[in-house]
Each structure stands twice: as C-alpha cells, then as structure tokens.
Symmetry: C2
C-alpha cells in the first residue's frame, strides 16, 4: 500500500532524479535547507507557524517500502543500484524550527533541515506541502479569532476542504490558532479536539414536521441539542422551539442552541433572540453558519447580532481570500559553504539563520532581526532545535500548549497587525552579518565563474 | 489505524448524531440525495465533473473498523447499541452520475445516491469533499488547456496543494482535463499518469558551477535532460548550454529542454531561443514555470513567447482564483416522497433528476434541460446508473477514456464559454415537470403545517 500521507513517492520527480545524481557523484555532504515565506499575501499582516508535528512524524517514518521500491525499479527511469540506495535511506538529520503557534513574517525561517544532501533534498516537496497548508489555515483562523475572541468558533469546513488530509489538518490548525473545536469527527479521534455537531436540513425534511424532527433528535442526543431552524421559515420555527423547549425540559432534555444558516443573519438573530427571551428561554444560545469568514463576522458583530457561536467552514478550510503562501524551501549551505539563489525577484538569504524578536515594556512585539545563527542579537531567539540525528529532543507537543503559544502570539502582536487590514507591515531587519555573508557568497561565485 | 481517506469518521459529527436518531426512529427508508453546484463562481463559465471514481471506491469500502467503533463507544456521545449498528453498516445503494469529464452547469446534479437513509446521510461529508475538489481542479485545468491546447502542460502543484490527498488528486484531475502529466511521482505510480521532472535550483547551487551540475545531471538521467537555467543569469546560462549540448551529444546524451522559472519570461524565452537557434540547437525545447495560470499563459502566448511547455503549480492545485465551489448534497426524496429545502437563497429542486443536453448541427452545445428522471426530453441524457445495490455496473473507467470525454466536452462548448471571461452564461432550462413538482412539494408541506 502506498499511503499518500507517508509515502516518499509523494514527491516531485526531480527530487528522485537529483538524488540519483547526488548518489552517483557522492555528493552526500551536509546540506542546510530552510523553509520560509518570501512575502506575506496582501491580506495577511502576520502568519502563525503550524504543521511542525506532522513534519517530524514524516521524517521519523521516512522509508521506502517494498511496493515503492518495486515501482522505482520498474519505472525504467533510474540506473542500477538506485532502488537499493533508497531502501537504506532514513532521515538522520537535525531539525530546527519555530514552535507551532509562533507568529512570523516574510523571509523568517520557520524550519531548518540539516542533513546529508540526498535526505534534505528528498523531503522538500512533502515538507512544504505540510507546513504550507497548516500555516495557511492557522493564519486564517487567527484572524477569525481576533475578530470574535469571546465567541465559540467551530471549524465546519471538511466538505469543501481540498481532500481528506486538508479537512483533517485544517481542524488541527484552526484549533491550534484558537478555535473552540471542529465538526470533523476524525479530528476529535486523532487529535482530541472538541467536536461539535448539530443537524442537517435533510434531517428535518425527512420528517413530516420540524417539531417531530426536533423531538426525535433531542431524545437521541439529550446532551447535545442544537436545533436548525432555517429550513422553511426561521422566525416561525423559533416560535416552535419556544413551545417545544419547556416540554422537553419536563423530560429532562435541555435545548442548548438554535442554528441559523441562511438569510440576513443579523435580522434573524435579533428576531429569534427576542422570541426566545420572551418565552423565558434566555439560556438557549444562537449559533450561526453559512459562508462565514472574518469579514462577515466583523460585520455581524458590529451590527449587534446576538449570536453566541459561529461555524466557519469553506472560507477557513480553503483560506479563500488567500489560498496559498509564496513559500519556499531553499538551500542555504552545502558542504560547509553558504549558498544562495539569485534568480530575479527570488533571491534568498544564505546561511543558517535565527530570528530575534524584541518587545516593548508592555510585552508588545516591536521588531524582529533576521540574522545568522552564529550572530547573537538582542531579543528572544525564535528558532530552536527540535530533532537531532533523526530523533526528537522531546515528545510531541500537546495541542493545548500550541494553543497557548498562539494565544500569546496574538496577544503580543502590535495593535495594527491585529486588525483585518494591517499596515504598515511589521519591521524585520536584516542584520549586517547576514548582508555581509550574502555579498561574500556572491563574490565567491563571481570569482569561481571568472 | 484510521486512514483519513477511507475512515467513515472523516465526517461531520452531525452525520453520526442524525444516524443515531434515524436508527432509533427506524427511519431507514430509501432516501435520494443529489450533489450539484448551486451557482458557478464568477470566474468559471463551465465546470468539468471529476472525482466519481474515488467516490465509488469510498462507497465500496465503507465500513467502520474496530478502532473506529471503539472510539464511538468510548466517546460517550452515543447511546447503547449504536456502535453495533454501525459495525453492520455497508453501502448497499445505487449511484447515478455524470461520467467524469462531462461539462456541467449550475443546479445540474452530477451524482445521485439512492440508499437507505442512514447510509445516504452518513456519506455526505466525504462525497462532497471528494467531488468538490477534483471538479474544482479539473475545471481550472480545463481553462489552462483551452488557452494553450498545443503546449505540454504539467501539474507542478504538489508542494502548495492543500495536503497529501489534494496533491495526489489534483494530478489526476488535471490529467483528466487534458494536462500532459504531473511532477508528482505517486500520481504516476497510482494512476499511471505521465510524470515529468527537471532539477531544482538547489542542485545547481550545490555544485561549483552550472556546467558541472548540468553534466552530472545529464549523465545520471541521460533520457530526461531538462536544464534549469535561471539560477544566476538566464542568458549567460543559455550560452553555457549551447556549448555543453554538442559535447554531451558526442557522448550520446541529448539535452531535451531548458527551463525558465523567473523574470520576464517572454524576453528570456525569446533571447534563449535565439541563442539556442544560433547554435544550431533548434531541437532543444523551452519549458517554463513560476506562478503560472491561464491568464499568464494567455499573455505569454499573445506576446509570442517561444515556450513549448509549462509547469503550472500553485494556481492550478489550489484553483487560486476560485478556491471553492458553492456545492451541495441535498435530500430530494425520502420514503417515496419528493423533498426540498426552502431556506432563503438556498432553495433546491426536488425529486430524482436528469439533465438533457442539446447540440446544434455542428455538434456544439446549445442548451440543457433540467428535469425529472421520469420526464423524457429531447437531447442526450447525461446522468447514468454506475452502481446498483452497492456494486459497480462496470470496472473503473480508464483515465484515458475520461480524458477523451473531457476533450470532447471542451470541443463542443459554445465558443464564448471557451474564453476565460465567459458570458452570457450557458442556458439551463428548468422543465415544467420539475417546476410543477416543486410547487406540489411546497403545497403538501403547507397542508401538513396547517
């Protein structure tokens, strides 16, 4: 079986062709690659690092199984002995990273791989794939959280997430960034994330009446009664709930909430709140869903919608307003010499890097310095060693700890970066040491070329 | 092990809570659900159906394994006997669908599930997740293909696809829509899609010179030599290739192509073409990549860039200009009675539906009629039965057949829909029979409510 999540064949062909060449030339010296985002999307003032745990799992488990090796041999693309070399391949390198939940900015590395070239090169595609996606979603979720910090926020995005893993890991990334939970059951089973659920319109339509469907549902799930009230007429249905809830209460069943999913959510929420309050049902919450994102939430809250919780789906799980990051995994050093790419508009900073973050007296972030690992600067270093010679330095970090770090990150952001439209951008200074190294690398190359 | 791609726990919690209620009420009559896109994104004039094969695999394999049942029991969310009912659950229903590669439009069902309610409900989340994504990507890829029908188009998107499955299935969807192949090795191994690859900048940077890296690469991969020439100075590097290629030819190694990945691709391609042609190397192709999509390709070709092939990555695999579809899987009938949802702005057409497509004398599509399955209309019916009582009616369709169907779909689109900005929208008529049924369903509900 080739499991896409762990198969080393989930990679770009050029990784394998380069690997073969590296093996043939015995170019197996230590390479240093770093993952970073070149430039933040226009609609993001900061990003939140996420996905490191899945990267470490991937590296720990890296190996070609028999079926994969068989494919390599049969493909006719590779020379004799290549499959045998691959059969021995394990990840034996070091990993440095910003812990998940750390806010970061353009050009700042959130992951560094230090390993023999073939290993460090091979893992590129999947490492980008993992870090890019969770960072993308955590960063989007953080914006939703900043807009509605006191509300229950639930990831509803599985169905329009891009595939199975995206649905699963979006739930993780959103929870890490401060969401209260997800509707995705497997995310509960695998990551112990709180799982929330209500009912679908089909459930109501399959019954002869809304009342009948609500009673059936409440009896089957007495501890979890959220009733969907917009299938036909929202306010009329709210009045049915106002009559039903006391009857259910007599049977010991409490209606927790009603859910709105269509129409003018502000008007409906206000009308429904009044209907419920007039019936003495102030304890029934109003939950809402339907094409929500941080912009809609800001508008709903500004207009005074009495909504207690939100299911945020498609726009979260696809990061719809910025569905990708301009990220890269680039060679910084090989065989002890710093390297850089100089392609137009895509030049990179060479060497093993560190980011120092500085704070003002109130604990608010003021600026970062991007420099070499060897160049100690003032401030808090953000990149730390998490894996040495292929082994983790500590057990997997609990999601609760990542959530706390993310909350701290958001709390210490400068005020203007906490807004949805955030400018000016956060200051990241390139150190003199780094500038000097870049010039040195360029000079050495020009000398070699001359 | 809970494999996200096949686990029935990759679903929304409400599917399970509704299931429990259906079981308790013995509401296990036949339900009919249909999957459709409500409205096309502004930036799409048509969509291309894709993902059916993965849906059928999912339905065939549907079962809860021991670990999943254990989680259900331990979760404390469900009543006694629920896990035991789930242990017996298999998919025993019928599937009707438009074959993959069929062009379709708003409100037209591309999949219908006819099955006992609990089965038909449970599979909703994953069915949407599968159909939505591949349809999204096939539709995006079709636009790229329409802009550059004669060029080699290769999916380069794995690294920024949203997770492992997205990377893998984007390769499949793009190939189905007419791409020539992918860089994703696993897509080659699993779907027998042609796999293409070149080299990364890191490979060149790790060497002391571009020439050395090219020579090493060419010797390791003599049948597959595409050289990346933009790492430092594109034109200077093209001149190096012009000197190197004849030397390699003597050794029996042919340079197939050079790749451009940055800067002004039109200017670079023209200059590089001239350098190669002047050296008598007209047979070396120019391949290009770097933030490409159908808009950029149109511009490059309009400006006369002599580029023979394109690697299209991020924008393809995330469908960046329209990263989701407003799609739904809605109850159309339960226990023999048609049903519909009437939520504001989200009302659906009830009943089991069929789409008839009409063509003019030249074979060009003129219009569709959306009607009931029982209402025969003129034209070609697009929805057909593909699974009966849980068993496929035919073996999995080869990707080659899907590609051919997609090519025919694109060839028969009205000319204005083949443009990137396509308006007016394609005409889809709602039949009288369908309008009458919707009115009847509404009347019956109002009678029941009175």
């Amino acid at each position: 079986m080739m499991n896409p999540a762990s198969s080393p064949l989930l990679t770009d062909l050029y990784q394998l062709t380069m690997l073969q060449s590296y093996y043939e030339q015995n170019m197996t010296d230590v390479a240093v690659f770093e993952f970073f985002v070149r430039r933040l999307p226009d609609k993001r003032g900061f990003l939140l690092a996420a996905g490191l745990e899945q990267v470490l799992e991937f590296l720990e488990g890296l190996r070609f199984n028999d079926e994969e090796l068989e494919w390599i041999k049969k493909s006719g693309r590779f020379g004799a002995g290549f499959a045998e070399r691959l059969a021995q391949l394990r990840f034996t390198g070091d990993v440095h990273a910003m812990p998940e939940g750390t806010a970061f900015f353009g050009n700042e590395p959130i992951l560094r791989i230090t390993a023999p070239m073939p290993q460090a090169q091979l893992v590129e595609s999947r490492l980008i794939n993992l870090l890019h996606f969770q960072t993308l979603i955590a960063s989007k979720a953080a914006r939703v959280k900043l807009v509605a910090p006191e509300k229950l926020l639930v990831d509803f995005g599985l169905r329009r997430a891009h595939g199975a893993e995206a649905g699963l890991l979006a739930a993780r990334a959103a929870y890490a960034a401060g969401f209260g939970g997800t509707a995705t059951v497997l995310a509960g089973a695998q990551f112990d994330i709180p799982v929330f659920g209500t009912m679908a319109h089909s459930f109501i339509e399959a019954h002869d009446s809304e009342e009948a469907s609500f009673e059936h549902f409440a009896r089957a799930q007495p501890g979890n009664v959220t009733l969907l009230i917009d299938t036909y007429d929202t306010e009329a249905c709210a009045r049915k709930v106002a009559q039903l809830a006391p009857r259910l209460a007599v049977q010991g069943i409490r209606v927790n909430a009603v859910r709105l999913d269509s129409g003018d959510l502000v008007a409906h929420a206000k009308a429904v709140r009044r209907i419920l309050d007039d019936a003495g049902l102030g304890e029934i919450h109003i939950f809402s869903s339907g094409s929500l994102d941080e912009y809609v939430l800001r508008e709903l809250l500004a207009r005074g919608a009495p909504i207690d919780g939100f299911g945020v789906g498609t726009h979260l799980d696809t990061s719809a307003d910025a569905p990708y990051l301009d990220c890269a995994y680039k060679l910084q050093e090989y065989a002890g010499r710093a390297r850089r790419k100089r392609s137009e508009g895509k030049a990179t900073w060479p060497g093993r890097k560190q980011v120092y973050r500085r704070f003002d007296a109130h604990g608010t972030m003021t600026d970062d310095v991007l420099t070499l690992e060897s160049d100690r600067q003032q401030g808090t270093p953000l990149v730390e060693c998490v894996m040495r010679a292929g082994r983790r330095l500590r057990p997997p970090e609990p999601l609760a700890a990542i959530r706390e770090r993310a909350a701290r990150s958001l709390a210490t952001l400068p005020a203007h970066l906490r807004a949805l439209e955030s400018s000016p951008s956060y200051p990241v200074t390139i150190s003199d040491a780094l500038t000097a190294l870049a010039a040195e690398v360029d000079r050495a190359r020009e000398d070699a070329a001359a």
